[in-house]
């Protein structure tokens, strides 16, 4: 069990700001965020729409450049990477889970996972990854033949198959009902426990906070509060 703050910081974030547009139309999405994210923890980001949590996640994942401030991944300064460097960073270290799954419809579950394993150095096998999310028996199905929850679990398998250092999930259960959502969160939780993947999860759903090591609230582009859970609730006990 990996909890607590005695771990190495996977990410160190200093003075992060992000402004979209300029002049009168400028929108300040992040107004100076300082944070550490530790190896192996599950962090849940909560906050109202426009509070900056998605922007923060995108910068962590190398999808966006901040306006100012620095992000260090381990010893590398992520904010100094060019586009090619960021692609390499995503490829080697980051797994993404999207709200709307974004599976490739022309590939089966296994193949969707292989899409990632083929470009990774030390991947799990697709079978192993699918077993981890409990979909070993659906391996040869195409997305159109899978339910929403199943599709999202394939997306989780795809995200973790490369054994990423960090798993970023933006509203992974946003499109799912409670029962299915719990299956997906269970998969994320299991991966975190078994592989030690640092996981950052955005949600609007307060009920999900229970499964986190820490819950970080965003408001108006700033970190409004950090709450550390004494112990993580088993996912099966969550409900909404």
């Amino acid at each position: 069990m990996k909890t607590g703050h005695d771990k190495m910081a996977a990410f160190r974030v200093r003075g992060l700001t992000k402004v979209y547009g300029d002049g009168d139309l400028a929108v300040q999405a992040l107004r100076g965020v300082d944070l550490e994210l530790y190896d192996g923890e599950i962090v849940v980001l909560v906050g109202p729409s426009g509070s900056g949590k998605s922007t923060f996640l995108n910068i962590l994942g190398g999808l966006d450049h901040p306006t100012s401030g620095k992000v260090f991944f381990r010893d590398s300064e992520l904010t100094g990477f060019d586009d090619k460097g960021l692609t390499g960073f995503r490829r080697a270290h980051v797994g993404f889970v999207f709200q709307f799954y974004n599976l490739i419809s022309s590939l089966t579950a296994t193949e969707n996972v292989d899409l990632v394993t083929e470009i990774s150095d030390h991947p799990l096998t697709a079978t192993h990854a699918l077993d981890l999310v409990g979909l070993g028996d659906r391996a040869d199905h195409f997305p159109a033949q899978l339910s929403g929850g199943e599709q999202q679990r394939v997306a989780v398998a795809r995200a973790i198959a490369k054994q990423p250092d960090i798993l970023l999930c933006d509203e992974p259960t946003g499109a799912l009902d409670s029962e299915t959502g719990i299956l997906v969160l269970g998969a994320i939780d299991r991966v975190n426990r078994e592989l030690g993947t640092t996981t950052v999860l955005i949600t609007h759903n307060a009920a999900i906070s229970g499964m986190a090591d820490r819950v970080i609230s965003f408001a108006d582009g700033r970190v409004a509060g950090i709450e550390t859970n004494g112990s993580r609730l088993p996912v099966q006990e969550l409900s909404w």
């Binding site: 995503r90 980051v94 974004n102 033949q145």
Partner: protein, 800 residues
């Protein structure tokens, strides 16, 4: 819906912004439509303008309808002919031939002399003055020279020409440079091509020529004009009857007039080209606009759902998109109409110069424009309507989300094939599998792209093959079929002894005599005036060829016809035709067609020279000779021949070839050049759109992969790989289609003057494919830039 900026409804402002958003594609589609329309309008406009110009030229400068020759006919005969029913006027004239002393020219230079009576400017065949003035009355030494000849020799009014006319040497003062509808092309007797350097037309005063030829009060040629729709055959018969006592050679109409026949064949050739290629291109362009529009609308599906959710009616939405499509297509059609008219004018000017027309009439063809624009617009709208129907029939909520993930399935093949396929498939990377599955599932869409690309290749092949075909035509006609370097024609048919004197000339390696007689050949109700050429049975220089380019032996009995002549007469091998020689005793024969020669130029008939001579009166005569020449002695040969009085003309094969290139080949190439340009534009429009639409259909998937850590190159591979596969499939398909188009084109383009062999070189296929490949690669690069700009963040948010 009022009080908004610009006074436009919101939905219309959306349309304008949509247009701006998809401007790249809109421009590409409009260009395809424009190219199809422009080509159609250009071709029709050029043909109509040239025909109208020719007709007006003939009309204003009094091109005769009927011509008749005689040895010496009294003026009274002309007056009698003028009274024949249907005849408007009959003007007598004196024609002759002169040998000219041209400094620096080795070959004999000949001129046809035509009399002009300055006191009768209303006479038929009035020359059009380009420079200088017309000859004045009472000036026997003044002459006017045809412009082409003057240009070839740098002659201008004020210059002098030394000519030998009927044995007398005379100096002609050039006072005018003229054009004449009778001599748009000046073709020497016995020649198949005009040669402006060695043959020209000179107009001299009637009185002067009458004195030279001792034809005072008489004439040796008659020009006749007739009322429209007159029965020309009846007039021919009347003219022949009246002139017969005076050595009349049978009358002939414009179709047997060398210059008109040549000009008609060239303009007809243009028309034939215009009737074949542009409609194919227009159809192709319309088809492509249809496909592209339908795909474009499919990508609008979510917006259509949104409109419905807002309460817009199906009709309003349909109308909205129809407007969008109409704006794009109509812009293209308008551009095509304007561009096509402009090009038609430009091309007409090029041809006007080519044919030396003194003026040009432009006839932009409105009905053609309307047809072309209508076809294109209809095709675009039809493509839209079907796509919109599919979108508006969905409930809004469903339309607002993209179509459910397409159903893919694994295909299992039985037995060993299945195992092999499985093995191979396991070796494929996932991106490659994506390409494969996309192609297999959306095969209809892939097929449409593939067809579009292959049509681009086909259009290039089917226009560029003309260059190959013309080269083969030249090789066959001028090298394989006519191996002589020079052919000479005698002033009159001569004993074959003349060959001996020719053989002794410098450089002559071989001389073969031939006899040529004018004749009318007929079968059933078809008849044709041709020149029958009598060749020795073992003719080695001039050889009619069969389909496989093997020489056909000249039959001892019977007659050998051009395949085209056989077609015109409706006869084949084994059929019998009637032949009436229009010379001497005018013998009539029934001859069996022994073979058809697959020649590409003109319509000829060949007989054994001995059997022709027998029919002509049992005297062995030759009217000219084909000669094989040692190139080293060529100048000497020409200088000697020039001074031989019994030689009327010398036609060099290489000059004929050069003239062929300069006339018929160039005539075609002007048009073909434009066709190729249009084919290339269409190719750009199609390929760019195919790539661009593929991108918008798959942007989300590709962005997902970028987020997952795929590099730009790897992501581009998936999209462009699909395009590449389709392009590769399209290449052979396009070549095959191109060959089919070419087959159709040569089948339709078969004039009396010229047939095109179906020859498509590998290099033409290669160049066509290369052009389309380059266009594809450039479109790929453009789209690749768009892949680089994919919004990765949006992917995380948008829903599927």
């Amino acid at each position: 819906m009022s009080g908004r900026g610009l006074g436009l409804a919101a939905i219309d402002r959306k349309m304008l912004r949509d247009l701006w958003r998809m401007r790249g594609q809109a421009v590409a589609i409009a260009l395809v439509a424009a190219a199809g329309v422009a080509m159609y309008v250009m071709a029709a406009g050029t043909f109509a303008s040239l025909s109208a110009t020719r007709d007006a030229y003939y009309d204003r400068y009094r091109m005769p309808d009927i011509f008749a020759g005689a040895v010496r006919a009294p003026e009274s005969a002309a007056r009698e002919i003028a009274l024949l029913s249907g005849v408007l006027r009959a003007d007598s004239r004196i024609v002759g031939q002169a040998t000219l002393d041209m400094v620096g020219v080795d070959e004999p230079v000949l001129a046809r002399l035509v009399s002009w009576d300055p006191s009768k400017p209303e006479n038929l065949g009035r020359p059009y003055l380009r420079a200088g003035r017309l000859i004045a009355p009472g000036r026997p030494d003044e002459g006017m020279v045809s412009e082409n000849f003057a240009t070839a020799h740098g002659l201008a009014p004020g210059d002098k020409l030394v000519a030998t006319i009927n044995g007398q040497r005379r100096t002609i003062d050039i006072v005018g440079i003229v054009l004449s509808p009778e001599f748009v092309y000046a073709i020497a007797p016995g020649a198949i091509m005009p040669d402006n350097r060695l043959y020209g037309i000179i107009w001299l005063a009637r009185l002067s020529l009458a004195a030279t030829y001792d034809l005072q009060g008489a004439f040796n040629e008659l020009a006749v004009s007739v009322i429209p729709d007159a029965d020309q055959r009846e007039i021919f018969a009347g003219v022949d009857r009246i002139l017969a006592p005076f050595g009349g050679v049978s009358a002939y109409g414009r179709t047997d007039h060398m210059s008109d026949a040549f000009l008609a064949a060239e303009i007809d050739g243009l028309e034939a080209m215009g009737k074949v290629v542009p409609p194919i291109f227009l159809a192709v362009a319309a088809f492509l606009v249809n496909i592209v529009m339908s795909r474009l609308i499919q990508t609008e599906r979510e917006r259509i759902g949104l409109f419905k959710a807002f309460g817009y009616t199906n009709r309003a939405i349909g109308f909205h998109y129809l407007k969008l499509v109409s704006v794009i297509t109509a812009a293209g059609a308008l551009l095509g109409m304007a561009g096509g008219s402009w090009l038609g004018r430009a091309v007409t000017e090029i041809y006007g110069e080519f044919f030396s027309f003194p003026f040009l009439l432009f006839r932009p063809n409105l009905s053609t424009m309307i047809i072309a624009a209508g076809v294109t617009l209809a095709a675009g709208c039809l493509g839209t309507v079907s796509a919109i129907r599919r979108a508006v029939l969905l409930p809004p909520a469903e339309a607002m989300i993209p179509p459910t993930p397409p159903r893919y399935r694994q295909i299992s093949l039985p037995g060993a094939i299945g195992r092999m396929a499985g093995f191979l498939s396991n070796k494929l990377s996932q991106p490659t599998r994506m390409i494969g599955r996309q192609l297999l599932r959306a095969w209809g869409r892939g097929a449409a792209t593939c067809v579009g690309i292959s049509l681009s290749v086909a259009m290039l092949v089917s226009t560029m093959f003309f260059f190959d075909a013309i080269e083969v035509l030249i090789d066959t006609q001028f090298q394989v079929g006519q191996r002589q370097d020079v052919s000479v024609t005698f002033v009159e048919a001569t004993r074959p002894d003349a060959l001996w004197s020719l053989e002794r000339l410098p450089g002559v390696m071989k001389a073969e005599g031939f006899r040529a007689v004018p004749a009318s050949v007929s079968a059933g109700r078809f008849s044709r005036n041709v020149s029958i050429i009598g060749l020795p049975a073992q003719s080695q220089l001039q050889r009619p060829l069969d389909r496989r380019l093997m020489p056909i032996a000249i039959p001892e009995r019977g007659i050998l016809l051009s395949a085209k002549l056989g077609e015109l007469l409706g006869v084949g091998v084994g059929d019998t035709i009637s032949v009436e020689v229009k010379l001497g005793a005018r013998p009539q024969m029934e001859l069996r067609v022994t073979a058809l020669a697959d020649d590409y130029i003109g319509t000829s008939a060949y007989m054994d020279i001995a059997s022709l001579n027998r029919a002509m009166g049992h005297v062995t005569l030759i009217s000219g000779a084909n000669i094989l020449l040692d190139p080293v002695d060529e100048p000497m040969f020409f200088q000697t021949v020039r001074d031989m009085p019994f030689i009327a003309g010398v036609q060099s094969n290489s000059v004929a070839l050069a003239m062929f290139r300069a006339t018929m080949a160039e005539n075609l190439f002007i048009t073909i050049f434009f066709y190729i340009a249009f084919a290339a534009i269409i190719a750009v429009g199609i390929v760019y759109n195919a790539a661009r639409i593929s991108l918008s259909e798959r942007a989300r998937e590709l962005a997902t992969l970028r987020v997952l850590g795929f590099s730009r190159g790897e992501v581009s591979y998936i999209l462009l790989g699909e395009l590449a596969v389709l392009t590769v499939i399209a290449m052979p398909l396009g070549c095959g289609l191109g060959y089919l188009f070419a087959t159709g084109i040569i089948e339709l383009y078969r004039t009396d003057l010229m047939r095109i062999p179906l020859i498509v070189n590998e290099s033409t296929y290669a160049v066509s494919m290369l052009i389309v490949l380059i266009v594809t690669a450039l479109s790929g690069l453009l789209v690749r830039r768009q892949i680089d700009q994919l919004d990765l963040v949006a992917v995380l948010k948008t829903r599927e």
